[in-house]
């Protein structure tokens, strides 16, 4: 089902159930998927794998999602990779903070896998057009 040249999505989430659920559904939807459990892993994976898109949960242990995004967006090797922020925090300021950190899009949890795939495709199309 997954093609070797299909887009590589890096799913970053410390919550295993959510991470694996999105990973499984993305693979089901035809994407290649890599996973990271925290900010450090996310940065390391991004540098080594150069994914086509990163789904970034913001609340992470250790280096959090905002910090990790800033690091990635500050690096020439990774700054072109679109980052879609995922957060359960719906309070005002959360999305603003994510945008400031360099996130390209913002999705609030709970988010159904189907909806997430729609957003991922939209972002990839945006990048491709650009």
């Amino acid at each position: 089902m997954t093609q070797p040249d299909s887009p590589l999505i890096l799913v970053v989430d410390d919550y295993q159930d959510a991470r694996e659920m999105y990973a499984e559904y993305l693979q089901f939807s035809g994407f290649r998927v890599a996973e990271a459990r925290n900010g450090n892993e996310a940065v390391a994976q991004a540098f080594s794998l150069r994914p086509d898109l990163i789904l970034m949960d913001l609340s992470l242990p250790g280096m959090d999602g905002w910090e990790a995004t800033r690091v990635l967006k500050a690096d020439d090797r990774t700054k072109h990779i679109p980052v879609v922020a995922l957060t359960g925090h719906a309070l005002a300021g959360a999305s603003e903070g994510a945008r400031k950190a360099g996130c390209d899009s913002f999705v609030t949890k709970p988010c159904l896998p189907d909806d997430l795939v729609v957003e991922v495709r939209r972002m990839l199309d945006t990048v491709k057009k650009a």
Partner: protein, 725 residues
Amino acid sequence: MSSLQARTFTRTAGTAVSYAARLELLEHYLAHHEDIVRCAQVSLEWLARHAGVKQSACLAVDVESNMLVGIAAYGTIGDDIELFSWPLSDNYDPMIAALEAHTPVHIKSYRPNGHASHPPSLPLGRGPFTAVPLGIRGGTMTEHDEIAPGLLLLRTPALTPDINWVVAVLGQKIDQVRGRGSLAEEARKLRRERTLFFTIINAVTDPIMLTDIEGRLIVANARAEKLFAASEEESEGRRRAVELNNMLFSAALSRSAVEGSQEARELLLVDPSDGSDLLFEVLSTTVEDPREGTGVVSVLRNITDLRRATEQIEENYQKLRVAEAAVRAERDRLNLIIDSVADPIIVTDSTGATVLMNAPSEDLFTLPPGATEMAARTVQANDAHFSSFISGLLLGETGPGEIRRGEISLMNPATNEPIPVEAIAGKVLTETGELTAVVTILHDRREALERAKLYEQLKTASDELQARVQAATAELATQNELLRRQAIELEQASRLKSQFLANMSHEFRTPLNAILGYTHMLLQGVAGDLLPAVKRQLQRIDSNGRHLMTIINEILDITRIEAGKMPMQLSEFNLNELVPEVMAELDPVIARSKLTVSPMLCPDLPMVYSDRQKVKQIIVNLLSNALKFTHEGGIRITVGYDSVDRTANVSVVDTGIGISPENHEKIFEDFRQVDDSPSRPYGGTGLGLAICRRLATALGGRITLESQMGKGSTFTLTIPAEAEQ
């Protein structure tokens, strides 16, 4: 004989020397045939008038006493001619020598030879003169005597024919009279008596006159002569005055005679010398003389000065009275002023004795009748205090114009209460700097002291008040600080609550996200095809999960709105478009309800500038409620626009169960439904309308309700066409 009488009765018109003039003199001689003195006098006057001899004297030889004596003089000064006499035996005297020589002698400077009876000076006074022996006519001697009968003394050395004529006729006359030797002694006696008489009456300064009944002058003394006699050569004015005086006097005399009064009467005359009025008191007495007839002796007393003095005195007295009245008025005024001053005023003289005091002073320094012994002692003490102050001032070096101040403790004699006064004293000096008085004003200090005390009390009260205000202010500040801290604490608590709820919702969402996600994946067939029963059961899980998520989202919304952290994303959109979107979103519910939802859009609606998502959320909520509470009939969604208020509105009209009026407000409260009992027939959190109302308010709009039980409800959202940022 006096020269006065002769002059008085000689009123001859003066003409050039003529026979008539000489005849006139000779007529006089006839008239006074026995009186050589008068003849001599007339002769001298005649010479003065006709021969221009202004100064002359006549001396005659008295055979009895063997003396040359003065009998008449004209224009001379000094002693009476009667007092001059020379002994005939003094042959060395130039005048005696002239007698014997029968020749005129010119005497340049007469020096008496030291004889005791010689008068100190000559009748003509000092200076050269000519002594002409009488009885000489043309240089011939008379027959009777070896020596001439007399001498005529003249200033002029030139002997004119007139002079020579007079010398001859007068010499003959004297010789003739002397020839009747028997008469000589009597005549001399008479002459002396007359001389004495005139000396006496002339010594009287009041005019004395003997007149006949008509007032014609017979005898007058020198003073009277000045008023009533004038010779021809005197000035017109003087003569007129004399005439007037004579008339006035005659009139007075006749009046007196008619009235028969012997009393003194006043007579106003004119002073011939200067024309001024002279007032006399006339005392007239009638004298009877068998030979001379009835005469009147009048004594005039000059009362002009007396009258003037009287008038002056009267005038002065009037002035004095006026001045006195003025002074009295001034003094009364001063007293009134001083008495009207409420403060005691005391005027003392230079010795410290009281001269004047006003009524308030009297209360302090004088004893009223029937005063007690205590009052007497108080007055005494007051007096002593005041005297001490005054003596301090009198002894002190207080200059003029300087004011001495001092405090004196006095007592009120009536009540014995102490009166502290401030004494203010000034010296009154005369123009020469002499101290005449000291004026002292005593100013009652009680009021000032009272005021000072009151001020002190007021100040204390004010200080206390200020202290209290300060304390209160401090308390208030403390309270404020406490409140501020409480507010901070409350804010913190509120923030913590919001944070907690946010965290809670996050914590709820994470597992719910997995539940819904996996359910969804299963339903999508990620794990392969499902049995219909399993699929139906998974749909139940999915439905309940979504409901739970709605509840969580609503709680989150409330929290966000309360925390003021609901972000507004304003944009321009068409309100009409929202209606089909909302209907699409709720399509499954609409389909399930079997109700007709009819949209009634507004074609003229302008674009609205607001938060599209929030407006949609509200409409969704309202429609969802309408669907929930309506069992039959239909639902109408109406869009409208009010161009006056510039507001857009969306109404959701249902034919549902309706809401009783008492519940119209209740349903907008948090977690409320009309029936919130555990057995309530309708689900939901009860947060929907509360959130809608809050959102509408945040957009600057409102939600209103019209409803009747059993007839349905109309919820209307009204928002401004342009929301404020």
